[in-house]
Symmetry: C2
């Protein structure tokens, strides 16, 4: 490991043992900053030989505790492996190391008229490797899919140091089991990704057109979402902000929130006929009861409208410590789910503000509690428990795009059932029989 | 198994032991025509108890030998489980039994302005279960993806009769490992799919517009494909026919093939501005040397142009027995791959006619040999071997959409490598420790 750096300062180690959750890590033995695949191989061989757990890590922007490191483990950071090894405009693929910042790859692709589609909110600071480990989503996935839909092939190092290639460089292929898909979303529990072949897509040529619409009820906003999707408008993003979120933004930036506004829908089209499509979505919002709609294809006004959405988290963080949650339901029950969330907030005396990737039915209820509280208080967990249970009852899932990590372990069996749970443990044992890779995560 | 029928007549059994390949099956013990999930459970429990191999089967339209049944096995046909159990226009999903004919689901969806996108050439006779087992592709996947991209969740019965649910009803979700993806393309070696939740998509509202272009060289046709994709035209299908294919069609239907025509490109747009998009693709063909281009959005003319493509296989079957192959390469090397195929044909004295899903880089070289020959002669295998090797050398894969089945077993290790091979065997053992499910296929 001539190139790798090993960090042993306890304070530095501690900073590498955390992610964006409140979870207190243990005390890892050290941090390896890998500079190459060989460093990863060496680290994993050593860990296997000495039976030491390894917690792989990208930029630590996760929201589910997937990168929290425990006592006596080694943190294996891939953040220094930042090479874009290949970018083929003709084949529309890139081959990248795991530490490449997501937005950097997107920018590199745009120089060739392409884009890297997955855009988790963290994409200016998160890594491709972390995105793959969590199967990250984002705003654009309503049109372009999640990280899985852009992953073609991987190079991974298994727990014992063996190198395995999965997938391919081609758009299609069915040789053997889909090991690429198995690794995406596995939170570093099956192996460490050291290279990824990802699919790029043509970047839109026209400037996008954006709309924002205000509704007097969640039901109307939900009906507008349904109408927009049913009309085949193909929004490139469509975000729903509930009243609590709008109030948080209004408290901060004074957006002139009307008393009767219960929800706002912000959408965008990046199609060749973006302006016409945005106007069509505007009409559908009006037909479904929107009281105010703005549409624009000017870059500045678009930025202002989307900016409202971007302010959401920061506005909430001003109000208190935040537990950012992540459930996904069938699109038809999105308003019902938000109503349940609001009821849970009232019942448990908890503040919850919800933003949703509405086109996907993916909701982020943010539980806001007192600044300075180390961990969410019991009433927050009680409300969260109710939210998860409701999501499952409505045919939904515990996590749309953030992952299971540590935080969702206690609800996991509710969704997976005993057979799938046993099978997943069996699969884990095939890759990592000693259970050294990111123990306690994902499954 | 009150509802299931068990067939024991040797001739009938034999007809259920075959697929669309030339491979001679063994002598199975019998055929179970399952009518329900319970029938599948009962069959698999019995098979486990008696250590009898089970070969699951849809419509038997496979081209890789994936449904060929061996001596002493039970054929488990899912073809009678044909219920569309749910079709939700708002959530754009359907829940179907595995025996539903692919085109039937597509037609049911179109009654609600939706479509089921995957369209393997066999889609009027193949089943959803079979499509899932092989991760079937088709003409439309250049725009809408393969079967995997439409599969959200599965109900499967494992070899020992346990029932497992995978995936979800939502558009996104990352709870646990991606078992849905693992089953798609696994050729019935991990379990038997008894229900599938699939994604539907909005059906195009405007009639599609179609073009056909003739080129004097493969290089020019390939350049046109590259230009069309690079311009972001998003064809809903784009098929390349080589000279040998065109000759086979011309011999049969006299399409007035010019002496200098070496390739034909047939493409379609189903966008809202389909006609303009098809004209744009026409211009790109002309700029890249096309000698003749036809464009139309009339349903009848569209049907005629696409009809040429549809005639390809039948035209070849008139010329001899056919081994339909399936490799996929990065799009940029598509012309080079076809040139290699033509050289292999000359070198081995074999007739090969190639059709390609050009937008995906997915080629179907059809090896044509004497009618009445039971199995492809050695020179066909020698040429096929060269084609596979070349495809891998060019960064491609052994199979884009037909699967490994029995036919590609001997080349599999070339692509998968020893570690992935071992890992896949380990995964197989987790699901099917006795090795009873479709032995010898997929991995």
């Amino acid at each position: 490991m001539s190139e790798a750096r090993v960090l042993t300062d306890p304070d530095v180690i501690d900073s590498y043992a955390r992610d964006r959750t409140f979870v207190e890590p243990g005390k890892p033995l050290g941090v390896v900053l890998a500079a190459s695949r060989d460093d990863v191989v060496t680290t994993l061989r050593w860990a296997t030989e000495h039976r030491v757990p390894v917690v792989p890590r990208g930029a630590g922007t996760g929201l589910a505790g997937g990168a929290i490191a425990g006592d006596g483990s080694i943190v294996l950071s891939l953040a220094r492996m930042t090479a874009i090894k290949e970018l083929s405009p003709v084949d529309e693929i890139a081959v990248v190391e795991p530490g490449v910042i997501t937005a950097d790859l997107d920018r590199a692709a745009r120089e060739h008229g392409l884009m890297y589609a997955p855009d988790p909110s963290s994409y200016e600071i998160s890594t491709i490797g972390g995105n793959l480990a969590t199967n990250a989503g984002g705003l654009r996935c309503v049109k372009y899919g999640v990280t899985r839909d852009s992953a073609l092939g991987l190079e991974v190092v298994l727990a014992d140091g063996r190198i395995m290639n999965t997938g391919r460089r081609t758009m299609k292929g069915v040789t053997g089991y889909d090991l690429t898909g198995l690794f995406v979303g596995s939170e570093g529990t099956l192996g460490v990704i050291t290279s990824a072949t990802v699919r790029l897509r043509r970047a839109p040529v026209a400037p996008p057109a954006t709309f924002a619409a205000e509704f007097g009820s969640l039901r109307e906003a939900g009906a507008a979402v349904t109408a927009i999707m049913a009309a085949g408008c193909q929004p490139s993003l469509m975000e729903l902000l509930d009243r609590a979120t709008l109030e948080a933004i209004d408290d901060w930036r004074n957006i002139g929130l009307e008393a009767g506004t219960m929800a706002m829908l912000i959408g965008q089209s990046d199609a060749t006929d973006a302006q016409a499509m945005a106007e069509r979505m505007e009409r559908l919002c009006m037909e479904n009861g929107a009281s105010f709609v703005a549409v624009s294809s000017s870059p500045q006004e678009t930025e202002e409208l989307i900016g409202l959405r971007r302010l959401a988290y920061q506005a909430k963080e001003r109000q208190g410590a935040c537990l950012v949650e992540d459930v996904c339901v069938p699109r038809s029950v999105l308003p019902e789910m938000i109503t349940h969330i609001e009821a849970a907030a009232v019942r448990h005396g908890v503040r919850i503000a919800t933003v949703a990737h509405a086109g996907d039915g993916n909701l982020h209820p943010v539980f806001i509690f007192d600044h300075g509280t180390v961990e969410p208080p019991p009433e927050v967990w009680a409300a969260a428990d109710e939210v998860f249970t409701r999501a499952l009852e409505l045919g939904g899932t515990l996590t749309g795009e953030h992952g299971v990590g540590l935080l969702k372990q206690r609800w996991l069996a509710l969704e997976s059932g005993p057979v799938a749970t046993e099978v997943q443990r069996g699969i884990k044992a095939v890759f990592d029989p000693l259970g050294l890779l990111n123990p306690g995560k994902a499954i």
